[in-house]
């Protein structure tokens, strides 16, 4: 407060009254903020019907929609064509965490949030818990459960209510560069043991090539733990338990440590220009990631066309099991002045005519009708050498392990991953130690923010 003290030393009566006025404004603002934050979610709204949604759609109006998905613009155009009396103001407010920051700010400020927002599954509990999203049960959307894959529905629904409808999903699979595998006479690994062996064999045969790149992404790490059977987060209202020491987690760290400490990862940051290049020229031979990846391959890794193929995600015992990686839902923000109309748009997007434009843009759906339609499942994809990749990917969506929960402050958790667990990737130190540091940071933060967090 340098200025403050400096001011006091001098006679400033002229502008003092003005300064006082501003201080008063600031104080009032501070108090208002204090009041508006921190209300916890109330009891679940009674299950309603879709009547109010239909009525709102008939009445028309204007809503704002935040999304970064490539198909959003086409979807909005198609929706407006179908419902000319509804105007959707589409805004790309930033990609994932950038959008959440803005959404969080708008919620904190009490205005400026959109009516409908795209939110990834991992961030959903945070916004739901702070009572920032409308419970879609009040519009009778709970009856859509049977229309979505079990793993995605579990992400949008919790004990208190339904906080969005799933759009895309990311059951994990193994994407591999067949050309590189064949050239080095490496078989497609079915187990993680084989995967580790393949990594060593490949890098030994050709030091310029790596099995994959991993600089430590919290989303990917949690998905890997999920697949290995780890369930580090237990959430019951305000009571949270965090345990990165369970058997599943240890199974994964033991396996992944071999790759990190054996320097088997290409030191290339995911999503950088280097990375896209490396996917195209064979430097990176596999990716273990969500089913949304083919769209990225086709649009951004043109050099890899005809070389890549898809196989089921390796497992620990050879039995098929997988996890979700990424994927997002559309939710109605509570600030919305016209929540019923917003809900109508969400319904159209993810439970209506909006699904097809999404699939056409390369998205991987959550709707069972599409996940089982022959046109989708049996499509031969030229980029992947004509392989019917969706057979592998839709099977993966059925094999997702059950019972996963994210933290109610997962976006914060992900932001501090690099401070703690990220160091394991950087220095080649054991992952368990890194995860323990992450756990400690998350326990501390949760307790500061009013949760009761215990470490496992």
């Amino acid at each position: 407060m340098s200025r403050h003290t400096v001011v006091k030393g001098h006679s400033m009566s002229r502008i003092r009254s003005r300064a006082k006025a501003f201080a008063a404004v600031a104080l009032a603002a501070a108090l208002a903020v204090g009041c508006s934050s921190g209300s916890s979610s109330g009891p679940a709204a009674a299950t309603g019907t879709q009547d109010s949604v239909d009525a709102a759609l008939k009445a028309g109006g204007t809503i704002t929609y935040w999304s970064w998905t490539p198909s959003a613009k086409d979807q909005v155009a198609a929706f407006e064509k179908e419902y000319p009396n509804v105007k959707v103001n589409y805004v790309n407010a930033g990609t994932n965490k950038d959008e959440y920051t803005k959404l969080q700010n708008a919620i904190k400020a009490g205005n400026g949030a959109p009516d409908v927002a795209q939110i990834e599954y991992y961030a959903l509990p945070q916004f739901a818990l702070t009572d920032s999203l409308a419970n879609l049960d009040q519009y009778g959307f709970g009856s859509f459960e049977k229309d979505y894959s079990a793993s995605t529905w579990a992400q949008v629904k919790n004990n208190n209510g339904l906080y969005g409808l799933p759009q895309d999903s990311g059951p994990m699979a193994l994407f591999y560069n067949k050309e590189v595998f064949d050239k080095n006479a490496i078989a497609v690994p079915k187990t993680w043991e084989e995967y580790v062996a393949a990594a060593k064999k490949l890098h030994a045969a050709d030091p310029a090539k790596y099995i994959t790149s991993d600089t430590g992404d919290p989303g990917a790490v949690l998905s890997m733990i999920w697949q290995a059977g780890g369930r580090p987060f237990t959430v019951d209202g305000r009571n949270v338990k965090i345990d990165f020491g369970d058997a599943g987690t240890k199974k994964w760290t033991a396996m992944w440590d071999q790759l990190i400490q054996g320097k088997q990862f290409a030191p290339i940051k995911e999503w950088s220009d280097d990375w896209f290049r490396a996917l195209g020229d064979g430097t990176i031979a596999t990716l273990v990631t969500g089913a949304w990846m083919p769209g990225n391959f086709m649009s951004s890794v043109t050099g890899g066309s005809g070389k890549w193929a898809v196989a089921p995600m390796p497992t620990y015992d050879g039995q098929p099991v997988t996890a979700e990686n990424g994927g997002s839902a559309q939710s109605v923000v509570k600030q919305s002045a016209n929540p019923a109309l917003a809900a109508a748009f969400v319904r159209w997007l993810n439970h209506g005519n909006g699904v097809q434009p999404f699939i056409k843009s390369g998205g991987f759906p959550s709707t069972t009708a599409d996940l089982t339609s022959p046109a989708f499942v049996d499509e031969a994809v030229p980029y992947f050498g004509g392989q019917k990749i969706n057979q592998v990917l839709t099977q993966a969506s059925k094999d997702v392990a059950k019972g996963w929960t994210y933290l109610p402050y997962q976006t914060y958790a992900n932001s501090v991953f690099s401070d703690t667990a990220g160091k394991a990737y950087l220095n080649g130190t054991p992952l368990d130690a890194g995860l323990a540091a992450w756990q400690q940071a998350l326990v501390d933060y949760g307790n500061q923010q009013g949760f009761t967090v215990s470490a496992g």
Partner: protein, 309 residues
């Protein structure tokens, strides 16, 4: 480095001795008031607000706002993350600022020496990077630093090594320093050069009579004459270093494991607010940093002017 320009130099001397009559006493405010009005809204009010915030503690999820007095300040002063980030900018400041200012000074003296071919061309080209937004400069250097496909890779290829790794842990602070140096040498050069240009000719004539050589003239005429400019540039740079944000924050996308959430104090304050919703604590960090910066800038200014001619 935020480019907020600071004028922390002594109040210019010689206030005009006009208008002693009382009714005229206030007329200067006619000109100053509009500035101060906007200043109050954009600087003073947020500072007051930040100060108010710093006295409370707010839980992002449950519970309300509690008055905690100086608790947040006590916490900041004992926060290892804060001190780690502070120490980092201190190291940055101690190394980068002298290098940058020295380069700028040498460039300014060279351009002013009249011994340089095409001096005007040098002047404008060296100044050019200042016109490049920090965002663009960092994106650009980020591409160049890539040790697989960037210019760093080409350099390694050329030298037949793999020693050049600008984005590795040991190099990174240096790499950021390089971006900042690249951006701001020209700006500082211009401040020095402008000061050099207006040194009174009599000083040189006296030196010429004494038979002083080029370096003697630089040491005993030019450098003392532009001491004020050097002090200003130093203070600017100190403030800029303490506020280091844009470059590491954008580069974080490339190396998140090295540039964590508390790489610099400013990044720490930013992430506390925007990732952790710890607005009160963040405001406290900001205020503590502001006080430290102001004190150091003040000390430098005092020392700078005391040793003056």
């Amino acid at each position: 480095m935020t480019s907020t320009a600071a004028p922390p130099v002594p109040v210019p001397a010689r206030p005009t001795p006009t208008a002693r009559r009382p009714r005229r006493k206030w007329r200067g405010w006619l000109f100053v008031a509009p500035f101060m009005l906007v200043f109050a809204l954009t600087f003073i009010a947020p500072v007051v607000y930040a100060f108010v915030l710093s006295l409370y503690r707010d839980q992002a999820f449950f519970g309300g706002t509690v008055f905690v007095g100086a608790d947040n300040y006590v916490q900041v002063l004992g926060d290892p993350k804060f001190w780690e980030s502070f120490q980092r900018v201190l190291v940055f400041l101690a190394v980068q600022v002298p290098i940058m200012l020295l380069l700028a000074l040498v460039a300014a003296l060279a351009i002013d020496s009249a011994r340089l071919h095409a001096a005007g061309f040098f002047r404008i080209v060296i100044f050019l990077p200042y016109a490049v937004p920090a965002v663009v400069a960092t994106l650009m250097w980020g591409f160049i630093y890539g040790d697989h496909f960037g210019l760093a890779a080409d350099l390694n290829h050329l030298l037949g090594t793999d020693a050049v790794k600008p984005l590795s842990q040991n190099w990174l602070l240096t790499s950021i320093g390089n971006v900042v140096t690249w951006e701001f040498v020209g700006y500082n050069m211009l401040i020095f050069y402008s000061a050099l240009k207006v040194i009174p000719t009599e000083l040189f004539e006296a030196a010429a009579i004494d038979g002083a050589g080029t370096f003697r003239v630089i040491r005993s005429v030019k450098l003392p004459a532009i001491r004020g400019a050097i002090v200003i540039a130093t203070i600017f740079s100190i403030i800029g270093s303490f506020q280091l944000f844009n470059e590491p924050n954008i580069m974080r996308n490339l190396v998140p494991n090295i540039i964590g959430t508390f790489y610099t104090p400013n990044m720490y304050a930013y992430n506390l607010s925007f990732a952790g919703q710890q607005y009160n604590y963040s405001a406290t960090v900001a205020i503590v940093m502001g006080v430290i910066t102001a004190v150091i800038a003040y000390v430098v200014q005092l020392r700078g002017s005391r040793k003056g001619m």
